[in-house]
Amino acid sequence: MRVARARNQLRSRSTTSPSSACPEGYPEIAAQPSAAPAASPAPLLTVTGLAKSYRRRPVLRDVSLQAWPGQVLAITGENGSGKTTLLRICAGLEAPGAGTVRRGAAAGYCPQQPALFDLLTPAEHIGLFAAGRDGAAAEVRDLLDSLGLPLAGRALVRDLSGGARQKLSLALALIGQPRLLLLDEPYQGFDHGSYLDFWQRARGWRDEGRAVVVVTHLLTELDRADQVIELRAPAPAPARDPAPE
Protein backbone atom coordinates (compact mmCIF):
# COMPACT_ATOMS: atom_id res chain seq x y z
CA MET A 1 0.00 0.00 0.00
CA ARG A 2 1.34 3.42 -0.92
CA VAL A 3 1.04 6.06 1.72
CA ALA A 4 1.25 9.68 0.54
CA ARG A 5 1.24 12.64 2.84
CA ALA A 6 1.17 16.27 1.87
CA ARG A 7 3.52 18.58 3.60
CA ASN A 8 4.66 22.14 3.39
CA GLN A 9 8.12 23.29 2.78
CA LEU A 10 9.02 26.59 4.20
CA ARG A 11 11.98 28.59 3.07
CA SER A 12 13.21 31.83 4.44
CA ARG A 13 15.68 34.40 3.33
CA SER A 14 16.55 37.91 4.29
CA THR A 15 16.92 40.47 1.57
CA THR A 16 18.50 42.90 3.94
CA SER A 17 21.31 40.49 4.64
CA PRO A 18 21.99 38.74 1.37
CA SER A 19 24.90 36.87 2.82
CA SER A 20 22.57 35.08 5.15
CA ALA A 21 20.24 33.91 2.44
CA CYS A 22 19.70 30.21 2.62
CA PRO A 23 21.17 28.22 -0.20
CA GLU A 24 19.11 25.89 -2.33
CA GLY A 25 17.89 22.83 -0.58
CA TYR A 26 16.39 24.39 2.47
CA PRO A 27 15.43 21.89 5.09
CA GLU A 28 11.83 20.81 4.90
CA ILE A 29 9.42 22.28 7.35
CA ALA A 30 12.12 24.31 8.89
CA ALA A 31 11.03 26.79 11.47
CA GLN A 32 12.75 29.97 10.45
CA PRO A 33 12.14 32.76 12.90
CA SER A 34 13.39 35.92 11.35
CA ALA A 35 16.30 37.70 12.85
CA ALA A 36 15.24 40.36 15.29
CA PRO A 37 16.16 43.85 14.18
CA ALA A 38 18.38 45.61 16.66
CA ALA A 39 16.57 47.44 19.44
CA SER A 40 13.24 45.78 18.67
CA PRO A 41 11.46 45.10 21.91
CA ALA A 42 9.27 42.23 20.80
CA PRO A 43 7.87 40.71 17.64
CA LEU A 44 4.47 41.93 16.59
CA LEU A 45 3.58 38.50 15.24
CA THR A 46 4.87 35.15 16.40
CA VAL A 47 3.74 31.96 14.72
CA THR A 48 5.00 28.73 16.22
CA GLY A 49 4.52 25.24 14.89
CA LEU A 50 1.42 26.13 12.96
CA ALA A 51 -0.50 23.36 11.22
CA LYS A 52 -3.84 23.35 9.46
CA SER A 53 -5.77 20.72 7.58
CA TYR A 54 -9.02 20.79 5.66
CA ARG A 55 -10.86 17.49 5.76
CA ARG A 56 -7.66 15.67 6.62
CA ARG A 57 -5.79 17.34 3.76
CA PRO A 58 -2.83 19.14 5.23
CA VAL A 59 -2.53 22.73 4.07
CA LEU A 60 0.06 23.98 6.51
CA ARG A 61 2.44 22.00 8.61
CA ASP A 62 4.86 23.19 11.26
CA VAL A 63 5.12 26.77 10.06
CA SER A 64 6.92 29.23 12.30
CA LEU A 65 7.72 32.84 11.68
CA GLN A 66 8.07 36.17 13.37
CA ALA A 67 7.33 39.67 12.16
CA TRP A 68 9.13 42.47 13.90
CA PRO A 69 8.48 46.18 14.12
CA GLY A 70 10.01 47.99 11.18
CA GLN A 71 9.97 44.99 8.89
CA VAL A 72 8.33 44.06 5.60
CA LEU A 73 7.82 40.32 5.50
CA ALA A 74 6.80 38.74 2.19
CA ILE A 75 5.06 35.38 2.11
CA THR A 76 5.28 33.79 -1.28
CA GLY A 77 4.60 30.42 -2.79
CA GLU A 78 2.73 28.66 -5.51
CA ASN A 79 -1.04 28.23 -5.68
CA GLY A 80 -2.37 26.07 -2.91
CA SER A 81 0.65 26.44 -0.71
CA GLY A 82 -1.41 27.86 2.12
CA LYS A 83 -0.48 31.54 1.98
CA THR A 84 -3.99 32.84 2.40
CA THR A 85 -4.79 30.26 5.06
CA LEU A 86 -1.67 31.27 6.96
CA LEU A 87 -2.65 34.93 6.85
CA ARG A 88 -6.25 34.24 7.87
CA ILE A 89 -5.00 32.29 10.85
CA CYS A 90 -2.61 35.09 11.73
CA ALA A 91 -5.52 37.54 11.53
CA GLY A 92 -7.60 35.37 13.81
CA LEU A 93 -10.25 34.47 11.26
CA GLU A 94 -9.47 30.78 11.35
CA ALA A 95 -8.36 28.59 14.17
CA PRO A 96 -5.11 26.71 13.70
CA GLY A 97 -5.15 22.95 13.78
CA ALA A 98 -2.00 23.00 15.87
CA GLY A 99 0.52 25.56 16.98
CA THR A 100 0.14 29.04 18.30
CA VAL A 101 -0.25 32.53 16.91
CA ARG A 102 0.55 35.46 19.12
CA ARG A 103 0.00 39.00 18.03
CA GLY A 104 1.79 41.75 19.85
CA ALA A 105 -0.49 44.49 18.62
CA ALA A 106 -3.80 45.09 16.91
CA ALA A 107 -3.74 43.86 13.34
CA GLY A 108 -5.14 45.36 10.17
CA TYR A 109 -6.14 42.69 7.69
CA CYS A 110 -6.69 43.09 3.96
CA PRO A 111 -8.12 39.88 2.46
CA GLN A 112 -7.38 38.61 -1.01
CA GLN A 113 -10.96 39.19 -2.10
CA PRO A 114 -12.36 42.49 -0.88
CA ALA A 115 -15.03 41.63 1.68
CA LEU A 116 -17.23 44.69 1.44
CA PHE A 117 -20.89 45.66 1.50
CA ASP A 118 -22.01 46.10 -2.11
CA LEU A 119 -24.70 48.64 -1.26
CA LEU A 120 -22.60 51.01 0.82
CA THR A 121 -20.37 53.76 -0.51
CA PRO A 122 -16.63 53.92 0.24
CA ALA A 123 -17.21 56.80 2.64
CA GLU A 124 -19.87 54.81 4.49
CA HIS A 125 -17.47 51.88 4.77
CA ILE A 126 -14.84 54.10 6.30
CA GLY A 127 -17.33 55.56 8.74
CA LEU A 128 -18.49 52.10 9.77
CA PHE A 129 -15.02 50.66 10.24
CA ALA A 130 -13.73 53.78 11.97
CA ALA A 131 -16.59 53.59 14.47
CA GLY A 132 -15.47 50.08 15.39
CA ARG A 133 -11.92 51.06 16.09
CA ASP A 134 -12.58 54.51 17.46
CA GLY A 135 -9.91 55.44 14.97
CA ALA A 136 -9.37 58.59 13.04
CA ALA A 137 -10.08 58.03 9.37
CA ALA A 138 -7.85 60.86 8.18
CA GLU A 139 -4.98 58.61 7.21
CA VAL A 140 -7.34 56.37 5.30
CA ARG A 141 -8.89 59.26 3.43
CA ASP A 142 -5.42 60.47 2.55
CA LEU A 143 -4.49 57.03 1.28
CA LEU A 144 -7.61 56.72 -0.82
CA ASP A 145 -7.00 60.16 -2.23
CA SER A 146 -3.44 59.28 -3.23
CA LEU A 147 -4.62 56.01 -4.75
CA GLY A 148 -7.16 57.86 -6.82
CA LEU A 149 -10.35 56.63 -5.20
CA PRO A 150 -12.71 59.54 -4.62
CA LEU A 151 -14.71 59.52 -1.42
CA ALA A 152 -17.05 62.35 -2.20
CA GLY A 153 -19.17 60.51 -4.75
CA ARG A 154 -22.28 58.48 -4.10
CA ALA A 155 -21.02 55.51 -6.05
CA LEU A 156 -21.78 52.25 -4.34
CA VAL A 157 -19.15 49.58 -3.95
CA ARG A 158 -21.00 47.34 -6.43
CA ASP A 159 -20.41 50.00 -9.09
CA LEU A 160 -16.69 50.33 -8.47
CA SER A 161 -14.02 48.63 -10.54
CA GLY A 162 -12.16 45.69 -9.07
CA GLY A 163 -9.09 47.83 -8.50
CA ALA A 164 -11.09 50.52 -6.73
CA ARG A 165 -12.67 47.93 -4.44
CA GLN A 166 -9.25 46.59 -3.61
CA LYS A 167 -8.02 50.10 -2.77
CA LEU A 168 -10.94 50.54 -0.41
CA SER A 169 -10.27 47.13 1.11
CA LEU A 170 -6.66 48.07 1.72
CA ALA A 171 -7.66 51.39 3.21
CA LEU A 172 -10.03 49.72 5.67
CA ALA A 173 -7.17 47.58 6.95
CA LEU A 174 -5.34 50.75 7.94
CA ILE A 175 -8.07 52.28 10.08
CA GLY A 176 -6.91 52.78 13.62
CA GLN A 177 -3.26 52.73 12.54
CA PRO A 178 -2.63 49.09 13.50
CA ARG A 179 1.01 48.26 14.11
CA LEU A 180 0.69 44.89 12.41
CA LEU A 181 -0.53 44.81 8.81
CA LEU A 182 -1.57 41.50 7.26
CA LEU A 183 -2.06 42.09 3.54
CA ASP A 184 -3.09 39.30 1.18
CA GLU A 185 -2.13 40.40 -2.33
CA PRO A 186 -3.43 43.87 -1.56
CA TYR A 187 -2.71 45.42 -4.95
CA GLN A 188 -4.73 43.12 -7.20
CA GLY A 189 -6.25 45.21 -9.95
CA PHE A 190 -4.16 48.26 -9.12
CA ASP A 191 -2.87 50.34 -11.99
CA HIS A 192 0.89 50.73 -12.18
CA GLY A 193 0.99 54.07 -10.41
CA SER A 194 -1.13 52.81 -7.54
CA TYR A 195 1.00 49.70 -7.32
CA LEU A 196 4.16 51.76 -6.96
CA ASP A 197 2.43 54.02 -4.50
CA PHE A 198 1.48 51.01 -2.41
CA TRP A 199 5.09 49.87 -2.08
CA GLN A 200 6.23 53.37 -1.29
CA ARG A 201 3.68 53.48 1.48
CA ALA A 202 4.71 50.03 2.68
CA ARG A 203 8.21 51.39 3.15
CA GLY A 204 6.72 54.29 5.05
CA TRP A 205 4.77 51.98 7.33
CA ARG A 206 7.95 50.02 7.96
CA ASP A 207 9.82 53.20 8.80
CA GLU A 208 7.07 54.07 11.29
CA GLY A 209 7.84 50.86 13.12
CA ARG A 210 4.98 48.76 11.86
CA ALA A 211 5.32 45.17 10.75
CA VAL A 212 3.99 44.61 7.24
CA VAL A 213 3.24 41.04 6.20
CA VAL A 214 2.43 40.78 2.49
CA VAL A 215 1.32 37.70 0.63
CA THR A 216 2.49 37.86 -2.96
CA HIS A 217 2.89 35.77 -6.05
CA LEU A 218 5.27 38.11 -7.81
CA LEU A 219 8.96 37.37 -7.61
CA THR A 220 9.75 40.94 -8.62
CA GLU A 221 8.36 42.12 -5.32
CA LEU A 222 10.60 40.04 -3.16
CA ASP A 223 13.42 42.55 -3.29
CA ARG A 224 11.10 45.06 -1.66
CA ALA A 225 10.83 42.88 1.43
CA ASP A 226 13.20 42.60 4.35
CA GLN A 227 12.32 38.97 4.89
CA VAL A 228 10.85 36.39 2.53
CA ILE A 229 9.05 33.27 3.59
CA GLU A 230 8.35 30.80 0.81
CA LEU A 231 5.65 28.24 1.29
CA ARG A 232 5.44 25.30 -1.03
CA ALA A 233 2.28 23.51 -1.94
CA PRO A 234 1.90 20.32 0.00
CA ALA A 235 3.70 17.68 -1.96
CA PRO A 236 3.34 13.97 -1.53
CA ALA A 237 5.87 12.63 0.85
CA PRO A 238 8.19 9.99 -0.51
CA ALA A 239 6.13 6.89 -0.85
CA ARG A 240 7.03 4.14 1.49
CA ASP A 241 7.85 0.85 -0.06
CA PRO A 242 5.19 -1.73 0.38
CA ALA A 243 5.75 -3.80 3.41
CA PRO A 244 7.30 -7.11 2.54
CA GLU A 245 4.82 -9.87 2.64
Binding site: G92, R103, A105, Y109, F117, L119, L120, G132, R133, G176
Partner: protein, 221 residues
Amino acid sequence: MTARLLAVAAAHARIMARRRSAVALLALLPLAFYGALYRHSPNAVAVGGVASAFSAGGAAIFSMLPARGADQRLSLAGYRPGLLIAGRLVVLEATSLAISLITAAVMIAGTGPAHPREVFAGVILTGLAAVPLGLALGALLPRELEAVLVLIGIVGVQVTAKPDTVISAVLPFHDARQLLDAAVSTPAAVWPRLAVTAAYAAALAVVSWIAWARQGIALRR
Protein backbone atom coordinates in the same frame (compact mmCIF):
# COMPACT_ATOMS: atom_id res chain seq x y z
CA MET B 1 -21.14 50.27 22.48
CA THR B 2 -24.26 52.22 21.65
CA ALA B 3 -22.41 54.15 18.96
CA ARG B 4 -21.21 50.93 17.39
CA LEU B 5 -24.67 49.41 17.51
CA LEU B 6 -26.06 52.51 15.85
CA ALA B 7 -23.31 52.38 13.22
CA VAL B 8 -24.17 48.79 12.32
CA ALA B 9 -27.90 49.50 12.32
CA ALA B 10 -27.43 52.59 10.17
CA ALA B 11 -25.37 50.63 7.66
CA HIS B 12 -28.02 47.94 7.35
CA ALA B 13 -30.78 50.50 7.19
CA ARG B 14 -29.00 52.12 4.24
CA ILE B 15 -28.58 48.76 2.55
CA MET B 16 -32.25 47.96 3.06
CA ALA B 17 -33.34 51.38 1.79
CA ARG B 18 -31.29 50.85 -1.37
CA ARG B 19 -33.05 47.57 -2.09
CA ARG B 20 -36.34 49.19 -2.96
CA SER B 21 -37.50 46.53 -5.38
CA ALA B 22 -36.63 43.78 -2.91
CA VAL B 23 -38.53 45.56 -0.14
CA ALA B 24 -41.55 45.90 -2.43
CA LEU B 25 -41.42 42.17 -3.16
CA LEU B 26 -41.10 41.41 0.54
CA ALA B 27 -44.31 43.34 1.14
CA LEU B 28 -46.12 41.72 -1.75
CA LEU B 29 -45.14 38.11 -1.04
CA PRO B 30 -47.50 37.39 1.89
CA LEU B 31 -50.27 39.26 0.11
CA ALA B 32 -49.84 36.93 -2.86
CA PHE B 33 -50.50 33.93 -0.63
CA TYR B 34 -53.47 35.66 0.93
CA GLY B 35 -54.80 36.80 -2.44
CA ALA B 36 -54.66 33.30 -3.84
CA LEU B 37 -56.92 32.01 -1.05
CA TYR B 38 -59.07 34.80 0.24
CA ARG B 39 -62.15 34.01 -1.85
CA HIS B 40 -61.91 30.26 -1.47
CA SER B 41 -60.50 29.31 1.92
CA PRO B 42 -61.20 30.13 5.56
CA ASN B 43 -57.47 29.76 6.12
CA ALA B 44 -56.57 32.71 3.91
CA VAL B 45 -55.73 34.97 6.86
CA ALA B 46 -53.65 32.31 8.60
CA VAL B 47 -51.77 31.40 5.43
CA GLY B 48 -51.15 35.01 4.47
CA GLY B 49 -50.02 35.90 7.96
CA VAL B 50 -47.61 33.01 8.38
CA ALA B 51 -46.35 33.53 4.83
CA SER B 52 -44.99 36.88 5.97
CA ALA B 53 -42.30 34.74 7.59
CA PHE B 54 -40.96 34.09 4.10
CA SER B 55 -40.37 37.82 3.72
CA ALA B 56 -38.88 38.55 7.13
CA GLY B 57 -36.84 35.35 7.28
CA GLY B 58 -35.63 35.67 3.71
CA ALA B 59 -34.51 39.24 4.25
CA ALA B 60 -32.59 38.13 7.32
CA ILE B 61 -30.88 35.27 5.48
CA PHE B 62 -29.74 37.56 2.69
CA SER B 63 -28.58 40.10 5.22
CA MET B 64 -26.29 37.54 6.84
CA LEU B 65 -24.78 35.18 4.32
CA PRO B 66 -23.40 37.57 1.71
CA ALA B 67 -21.89 39.65 4.52
CA ARG B 68 -19.94 36.86 6.18
CA GLY B 69 -16.58 38.14 4.94
CA ALA B 70 -17.37 41.77 5.69
CA ASP B 71 -18.57 40.87 9.17
CA GLN B 72 -15.36 38.99 9.84
CA ARG B 73 -13.48 42.16 8.97
CA LEU B 74 -15.76 44.18 11.21
CA SER B 75 -15.04 41.79 14.05
CA LEU B 76 -11.34 42.48 13.54
CA ALA B 77 -12.15 46.17 13.51
CA GLY B 78 -13.59 46.01 16.99
CA TYR B 79 -17.20 44.92 16.56
CA ARG B 80 -18.38 42.07 18.72
CA PRO B 81 -20.50 39.45 16.93
CA GLY B 82 -23.41 40.23 19.22
CA LEU B 83 -23.37 43.83 18.03
CA LEU B 84 -23.34 42.75 14.40
CA ILE B 85 -26.38 40.56 15.04
CA ALA B 86 -28.16 43.15 17.14
CA GLY B 87 -27.71 45.88 14.53
CA ARG B 88 -29.32 43.70 11.90
CA LEU B 89 -32.05 42.62 14.29
CA VAL B 90 -33.11 46.20 14.92
CA VAL B 91 -33.36 47.09 11.24
CA LEU B 92 -34.96 43.86 10.11
CA GLU B 93 -37.53 43.83 12.90
CA ALA B 94 -38.49 47.38 12.00
CA THR B 95 -38.83 46.39 8.36
CA SER B 96 -40.78 43.32 9.35
CA LEU B 97 -43.11 45.40 11.49
CA ALA B 98 -43.87 47.67 8.56
CA ILE B 99 -44.56 44.69 6.30
CA SER B 100 -46.71 43.10 9.01
CA LEU B 101 -48.84 46.20 9.38
CA ILE B 102 -49.42 46.38 5.63
CA THR B 103 -50.21 42.67 5.43
CA ALA B 104 -52.59 42.77 8.36
CA ALA B 105 -54.36 45.89 7.10
CA VAL B 106 -54.94 44.39 3.66
CA MET B 107 -56.18 41.09 5.10
CA ILE B 108 -58.56 42.84 7.49
CA ALA B 109 -59.90 44.95 4.65
CA GLY B 110 -60.25 41.94 2.40
CA THR B 111 -61.72 39.39 4.78
CA GLY B 112 -63.34 41.46 7.51
CA PRO B 113 -62.41 39.03 10.31
CA ALA B 114 -64.39 38.98 13.53
CA HIS B 115 -61.33 39.81 15.61
CA PRO B 116 -58.95 42.13 13.75
CA ARG B 117 -56.74 42.59 16.79
CA GLU B 118 -55.68 38.95 16.50
CA VAL B 119 -54.77 39.49 12.87
CA PHE B 120 -52.40 42.33 13.75
CA ALA B 121 -50.96 40.39 16.66
CA GLY B 122 -50.52 37.18 14.69
CA VAL B 123 -48.74 38.81 11.76
CA ILE B 124 -46.51 40.88 14.03
CA LEU B 125 -45.57 37.81 16.07
CA THR B 126 -44.77 35.98 12.86
CA GLY B 127 -42.29 38.66 11.89
CA LEU B 128 -40.90 38.81 15.42
CA ALA B 129 -39.87 35.16 15.22
CA ALA B 130 -39.03 35.06 11.52
CA VAL B 131 -36.20 37.60 11.67
CA PRO B 132 -34.08 35.77 14.25
CA LEU B 133 -34.94 32.48 12.53
CA GLY B 134 -33.47 33.88 9.30
CA LEU B 135 -30.45 35.21 11.15
CA ALA B 136 -29.86 31.82 12.75
CA LEU B 137 -30.18 30.00 9.43
CA GLY B 138 -27.82 32.50 7.83
CA ALA B 139 -25.30 32.02 10.58
CA LEU B 140 -25.52 28.24 10.74
CA LEU B 141 -25.75 27.23 7.09
CA PRO B 142 -23.01 27.70 4.55
CA ARG B 143 -24.92 29.09 1.58
CA GLU B 144 -28.11 30.92 0.65
CA LEU B 145 -29.71 27.94 -1.08
CA GLU B 146 -29.54 25.69 1.95
CA ALA B 147 -30.78 28.43 4.26
CA VAL B 148 -33.70 29.34 2.02
CA LEU B 149 -34.71 25.72 1.61
CA VAL B 150 -34.78 25.21 5.36
CA LEU B 151 -36.83 28.38 5.79
CA ILE B 152 -39.29 27.22 3.15
CA GLY B 153 -39.55 23.89 4.92
CA ILE B 154 -40.21 25.40 8.34
CA VAL B 155 -42.76 27.92 7.15
CA GLY B 156 -44.37 25.43 4.79
CA VAL B 157 -44.83 22.86 7.54
CA GLN B 158 -46.19 25.55 9.87
CA VAL B 159 -48.75 26.56 7.27
CA THR B 160 -49.86 23.05 6.35
CA ALA B 161 -49.70 21.24 9.69
CA LYS B 162 -52.81 21.16 11.82
CA PRO B 163 -52.39 23.56 14.74
CA ASP B 164 -53.07 20.87 17.36
CA THR B 165 -50.21 18.62 16.23
CA VAL B 166 -46.86 18.30 17.95
CA ILE B 167 -44.94 19.27 14.86
CA SER B 168 -46.88 22.52 14.66
CA ALA B 169 -46.39 23.23 18.36
CA VAL B 170 -42.60 23.02 18.22
CA LEU B 171 -42.22 25.37 15.25
CA PRO B 172 -41.59 29.07 15.85
CA PHE B 173 -44.83 30.41 14.36
CA HIS B 174 -47.21 28.17 16.28
CA ASP B 175 -48.54 30.86 18.59
CA ALA B 176 -48.83 33.35 15.77
CA ARG B 177 -50.75 30.78 13.76
CA GLN B 178 -53.14 30.24 16.68
CA LEU B 179 -53.85 33.95 16.83
CA LEU B 180 -54.44 34.13 13.09
CA ASP B 181 -56.84 31.20 13.29
CA ALA B 182 -58.59 32.86 16.21
CA ALA B 183 -59.15 36.00 14.19
CA VAL B 184 -61.86 34.28 12.18
CA SER B 185 -63.27 32.15 15.00
CA THR B 186 -63.13 32.69 18.76
CA PRO B 187 -60.85 35.33 20.31
CA ALA B 188 -57.58 34.17 21.91
CA ALA B 189 -55.31 35.55 24.59
CA VAL B 190 -52.52 37.58 23.00
CA TRP B 191 -50.06 38.18 25.83
CA PRO B 192 -49.15 34.56 26.68
CA ARG B 193 -48.52 33.91 23.01
CA LEU B 194 -46.47 37.06 22.74
CA ALA B 195 -44.34 35.88 25.66
CA VAL B 196 -43.76 32.44 24.15
CA THR B 197 -42.91 33.84 20.73
CA ALA B 198 -40.60 36.46 22.22
CA ALA B 199 -38.77 33.74 24.15
CA TYR B 200 -38.47 31.66 20.99
CA ALA B 201 -37.16 34.67 19.09
CA ALA B 202 -34.64 35.46 21.83
CA ALA B 203 -33.38 31.88 21.75
CA LEU B 204 -32.95 32.04 17.97
CA ALA B 205 -31.09 35.33 18.29
CA VAL B 206 -28.72 33.76 20.80
CA VAL B 207 -28.14 30.83 18.44
CA SER B 208 -27.28 33.18 15.59
CA TRP B 209 -25.01 35.18 17.89
CA ILE B 210 -23.08 32.10 18.97
CA ALA B 211 -22.84 30.74 15.42
CA TRP B 212 -21.65 34.11 14.07
CA ALA B 213 -19.12 34.43 16.86
CA ARG B 214 -17.66 31.05 15.98
CA GLN B 215 -17.18 32.15 12.39
CA GLY B 216 -15.83 35.56 13.13
CA ILE B 217 -13.33 34.58 15.75
CA ALA B 218 -10.61 37.01 16.61
CA LEU B 219 -7.65 35.68 18.50
CA ARG B 220 -6.80 37.23 21.76
CA ARG B 221 -3.61 39.20 21.73
